[in-house]
C-alpha cells in the first residue's frame, strides 16, 4: 500500500495502482486519450503526462505505478504546456473538419483540445492520406481521422479475439487497419463494432443510413414500420444528456411517431417469440438425446447475436449444428411484419418497409444476409444504431426531453419482462428458463423474483445448474435431470466455451453467447463511451423495466398466444420453420 502525494493531497493505494488511478480516486482529473478501462496501458498518446519529483522527464501517468513517497504534480506550467504540445501535434495530423464530422460534440479529441485551451492550429505539416473503408455493410473507417491510439486494436484482439486490425507499417506511415491497407471485408471482421464503440474520434463508426430512412418515410407508397431492440430504451436517453441507466421507453415511442413511422413496434415482441421457438427447440433436442438416444448437437448455443454467428461461421464451422436455428428477434420481426402484419393491413410484403433500431452494428450486416428474405422481400430494410436514431431525432428538431410518454402499437408491440432482459448478458438464458421450466413442470421457476443470480453480472463466463423435479407426465424423461447452462459475453470469453465444446468437455445443455461486453446494452451501436459503470447502470435499468411489468414470462404474452392461434400454428411448426428459422454457412478465413 504505497502512500503518495498528488497535488499536495496524500493518498494510499493498493500495490500496482497507476498514478492515473490514484489521482482519479481523489478527484484529480488527468486527461487521457489512448487509455481504455480494463486493458493494459498503451502509453501511446502522452496526454496523461504528469510531473514526478526527482524524475528526469515527465511521466505517462497511465502506465507508471504509484510508489511510496512519490510527489506527483498534475497541474504545473510544464505539465500543461507539454499536454498542449502533445495535442497540438495530434491535431496537426488530424482531419479537423469538426463541423461536418459525425463525432462533433461527442469527440474526445475535440473535448480535450477545448479543455486544454487550444484555440489555433499551431503546427502545419504533412497529413495522413484519407482512405475511406466502406467495404462492409456495417462499419466505415476513415484513416484521416485516426489518431493511432490503438484502442480499437485492443478490443478487436483481446476482447473479441478476432485480430482484424493491427498497426500496419511504422512511424508516420503507421495505419491502424487490416493487412496491407486492405478493407475490413478482407479479414475475419464480424462487424460487432466494438472498435467503433471505443474510438475516441470519428475514425471508426457505423455506416450512416439515416437518409435511407428519411427517403422511405417520404415515399407515399411505403408503409414504414419501426422496431426497437430491448437495449435502446436504456441508452437512447444518453444521446440527449440523460445519465446512463435512464429508461426512456415512452419518450422513444413518441419520438418515433413524430418522425413519421406508420407503426411503432417492439423487437421485444419477437424476443418473446424467440423464447417460444428456441425453448421448444432445446426441449426437442433434449428429448431426442435422452429418450430416442439419437445423436444431436448439444449443448445448444443461442443465435440472437449476429457478430457471434459470423464468428462461428469463420472459426468454428464444425460447431454450426450446435447453434439454435432460430433467427434473431430482429429478423423474426422483419419476416412477420411483412407477412402476418402485412396481411392484417392488406398490404404486400414489398409495400411494407421495416426499419430496425439496434444497439448493434452487426445487425446491419445480418439484415442484408442473402437468406434473410423469408417474406419474399428483404425482411428488414434498414438498420439504424442507437446513435443514428439519436441523430435523426435531432435532425427532426424534436425536443426529446419535452416528449410525453407513448405506447407501442399492436399486434407486434406487446412484450413480457423476459423480452426486456434480452438486452443484457444472462438475460436470454434467464428468459428461456422462465418459460422452459414452467412448460416442463407446470410451476414457475424457483428463483427469487425470477432472477438467476449466478448468470447475472459482468463476469466473462458464468454458469448455473438446476435440478428438475416434479415434471409433468409429458416431460417425465427430464425428471431428476440437472440442467446445466453457461453464459459468456465478449467473443474471447465465448471462445473459452467453444473450445470446451469442441474438445467434448463441456458439461452444459444450453449456452448463451452475446458478442459485446455486458450484452446488447454494451453493443457497438450504443452511445459512447461505454464503461463498466455505464454497463451496470444500463443493466439495472433493464431489470427495472422487467420487474415493472405484470407479464414476466414470454409464454404468457397474449399477443404471442394470438399469433400462434391466428397465424403460426405451433412452435417449430411449418410456418415457423419457414419464417423464423434459418441456416448457417461456413466462411473461409482469409
Amino acid at each position: 500500500m504505497p502512500t503518495l502525494t498528488v497535488d499536495n493531497v496524500k493518498v494510499s493505494v493498493p500495490d500496482g495502482t497507476t498514478i492515473l488511478d490514484a489521482a482519479r480516486s481523489i478527484g484529480v482529473k488527468i486527461p487521457t486519450l489512448c487509455f481504455l478501462e480494463g486493458y493494459a496501458p498503451q502509453g501511446a498518446c502522452r496526454v496523461c503526462l504528469v510531473e514526478v519529483e526527482g524524475a528526469r522527464t515527465l511521466v505517462a501517468s497511465c502506465s507508471m505505478p504509484a510508489a511510496e513517497g512519490m510527489q506527483v504534480r498534475t497541474n504545473t506550467r510544464r505539465v500543461r504546456e507539454a499536454r498542449r504540445t502533445v495535442v497540438e501535434l495530434i491535431l496537426s495530423d488530424h482531419d479537423g473538419d469538426c463541423q461536418t464530422c459525425n463525432r462533433s460534440g461527442d469527440c474526445e479529441l475535440q473535448e480535450l483540445a477545448r479543455d486544454l485551451g487550444i484555440t489555433e492550429i499551431t503546427h502545419v505539416g504533412e497529413k495522413h492520406r484519407r482512405t475511406l473503408d466502406a467495404t462492409t455493410p456495417a462499419l466505415v473507417r476513415d484513416t484521416a481521422k485516426c489518431i493511432a491510439c490503438r484502442r480499437c486494436v485492443s478490443v478487436c484482439n483481446h476482447l473479441q479475439s478476432i485480430g482484424g486490425i493491427f498497426p500496419q507499417k511504422r512511424g508516420f506511415q503507421t495505419v491502424i487497419g487490416p493487412a496491407f491497407g486492405q478493407g475490413l471485408d478482407t479479414v475475419t471482421c464480424v462487424q460487432c463494432g466494438q472498435c467503433a464503440a471505443v474510438c475516441p474520434v470519428g475514425a471508426l463508426g457505423e455506416r450512416d443510413q439515416i437518409a435511407e430512412v428519411w427517403a422511405a418515410l417520404e415515399n407515399p407508397k411505403k408503409h414504414v414500420v419501426v422496431q426497437t431492440a430491448p437495449a435502446i430504451r436504456a441508452a437512447l436517453g444518453e444521446c440527449f444528456g440523460y445519465p446512463p441507466g435512464t429508461l426512456v421507453t415512452g419518450k422513444m415511442v413518441s419520438a418515433l411517431r413524430r418522425l413519421g413511422f406508420n407503426a411503432v413496434f417492439d423487437t421485444n415482441f419477437a424476443a418473446d417469440l424467440t423464447i417460444m421457438e428456441e425453448g421448444t427447440e432445446l426441449l426437442v433436442r433434449l428429448k431426442k438425446a435422452l429418450v430416442a438416444k439419437e445423436k444431436v448437437a448439444l449443448p445448444m448455443f443461442t443465435s440472437c447475436s449476429p457478430g457471434w454467428i459470423k464468428y462461428m461461421e469463420y472459426f468454428y464451422p464444425d460447431l454450426l449444428p450446435n447453434l439454435s436455428t432460430c433467427k434473431s428477434p430482429q429478423q423474426m420481426f422483419g419476416a412477420l411484419a411483412k407477412t402476418y402484419y402485412a396481411q392484417k393491413i392488406g398490404k404486400k410484403a414489398e409495400d411494407v418497409f421495416v426499419v430496425s433500431v439496434m444497439p448493434c452494428t452487426a445487425k446491419k450486416f445480418e439484415a442484408q444476409r442473402e437468406e434473410m428474405n423469408a417474406s419474399g422481400a428483404r425482411d428488414v430494410d434498414v438498420v439504424l444504431t442507437t446513435r443514428e436514431l439519436g441523430r435523426m431525432i435531432k435532425q427532426a428538431g424534436i425536443d426529446f426531453a419535452a416528449l410525453p410518454d407513448d405506447r407501442m402499437d399492436s399486434p407486434l408491440g406487446l412484450s413480457s419482462g423476459a423480452a426486456d432482459i434480452f438486452a443484457n448478458t444472462g438475460g436470454v438464458m434467464e428468459a428461456a428458463l422462465r418459460t422452459a421450466y414452467e412448460i416442463v413442470t407446470g410451476r414457475p421457476l424457483p428463483a427469487e423474483n425470477l432472477h438467476i443470480k449466478p448468470i447475472a453480472g459482468l463476469d466473462g463466463v458464468k454458469e448455473a445448474a438446476l435440478t428438475i423435479t416434479g415434471t409433468l407426465p409429458e416431460w417425465s424423461f427430464l425428471e431428476g435431470v440437472t440442467a446445466r447452462v453457461a453464459v459468456a459475453h465478449g467473443l474471447s470469453n465465448a471462445r473459452k466455451l467453444t473450445e470446451q465444446v469442441r474438445a467434448g468437455q463441456a458439461p452444459y445443455h444450453f449456452i448463451e453467447i452475446m458478442t459485446c461486453p455486458g450484452g446488447c446494452i454494451g453493443g457497438g451501436g450504443q452511445p459512447r463511451i461505454t464503461t463498466n459503470a455505464v454497463r451496470t447502470a444500463r443493466i439495472a435499468a433493464i431489470y427495472r423495466e422487467d420487474e415493472g411489468k405484470k407479464l414476466r414470462k414470454s409464454h404468457e404474452n397474449p399477443e404471442i398466444k394470438q399469433i400462434y392461434a391466428e397465424f403460426l400454428g405451433k412452435p417449430l411448426g411449418e410456418k415457423s420453420h419457414h419464417l423464423l428459422h434459418t441456416h448457417y454457412t461456413p466462411r473461409k478465413r482469409n
Partner: protein
C-alpha cells in the same frame, strides 16, 4: 485478396517445393513463443521475399491473425513483400553512416541503378534498400550487398563495387557505369 495471377504481374504462384520447405520451418517452430519473426526471416530466405500465399500459410499455422502478421512484416524494413533482385544492396542510414555521407552513397546508387529505394532493377539483378545500422559505425559509411559489408564507401567507387556482381558474360554493367 483480389490479385489475380492472370492480370497482376506481381502475383507469382509460389513453387510447391518452396512451400514444403516453409511447412518444415513452421513445424520446427510450432508452439515456440516469439517464433513469428524467425519464421518470417526463414520464409524470406526460402522465397527471396514474402509472397502473400506464404504469409497466409504462416498466419494459419501459427494461429495468428493475418493482420498481425502483416503488421510485423510492414514494421521491419528487412522484410519485403515484393520479389527482389538476385543481390540485395542495403545502404546504412544509421546515425554514424548518415552523418558521414550515407545519403550521398544512396543517391549515387539510385543514379547508377536507376531505381528508387524498395525497387528492383529491370534485369532483376539488384534490389536497393536502406538499413538502420549494421553495428559497424566505426567504418561509416557502410553498405551491404547480400552478406558482405563494404566499409568507408565513397560515392565515386560504387561502380567498382558493383562490377563484381555483374555476370561475367554480360558487360552491360560496365557500359552502364561509364555513362
Amino acid at each position: 485478396m483480389a490479385a489475380d495471377a492472370a492480370t497482376c504481374p506481381c502475383a507469382q504462384v509460389p513453387d510447391a517445393k518452396l512451400m514444403e520447405r516453409l511447412d518444415a520451418v513452421l513445424k520446427e517452430y510450432k508452439g515456440k513463443p516469439g517464433a513469428l519473426i524467425p519464421v518470417l526471416q526463414q520464409a524470406q530466405g526460402i522465397f527471396g521475399y514474402l509472397p502473400e500465399a506464404a504469409l497466409h500459410r504462416v498466419a494459419e499455422a501459427m494461429n495468428k491473425p493475418y493482420s498481425e502478421v502483416a503488421g510485423v512484416v510492414g514494421f521491419y524494413a528487412f522484410f519485403s513483400t515484393q520479389p527482389r533482385g538476385k543481390h540485395v544492396i542495403r545502404v546504412c542510414m544509421g546515425t554514424a553512416c548518415y552523418v558521414r555521407g550515407g545519403k550521398k552513397v544512396l543517391e549515387a546508387l539510385r543514379q547508377k541503378l536507376k531505381v528508387d529505394v524498395g525497387q528492383t532493377t529491370p534485369d532483376t539483378l539488384f534490389s536497393l534498400e536502406v538499413a538502420r545500422c549494421f553495428g559497424a559505425c566505426g567504418l561509416a559509411p557502410t553498405i551491404s550487398i547480400d552478406n558482405d559489408v563494404y566499409k568507408r564507401v565513397r560515392p565515386a567507387k560504387i561502380g567498382e563495387i558493383l562490377d563484381a556482381y555483374y555476370p561475367k558474360a554480360a558487360q552491360g554493367g560496365k557500359a552502364h557505369g561509364k555513362r
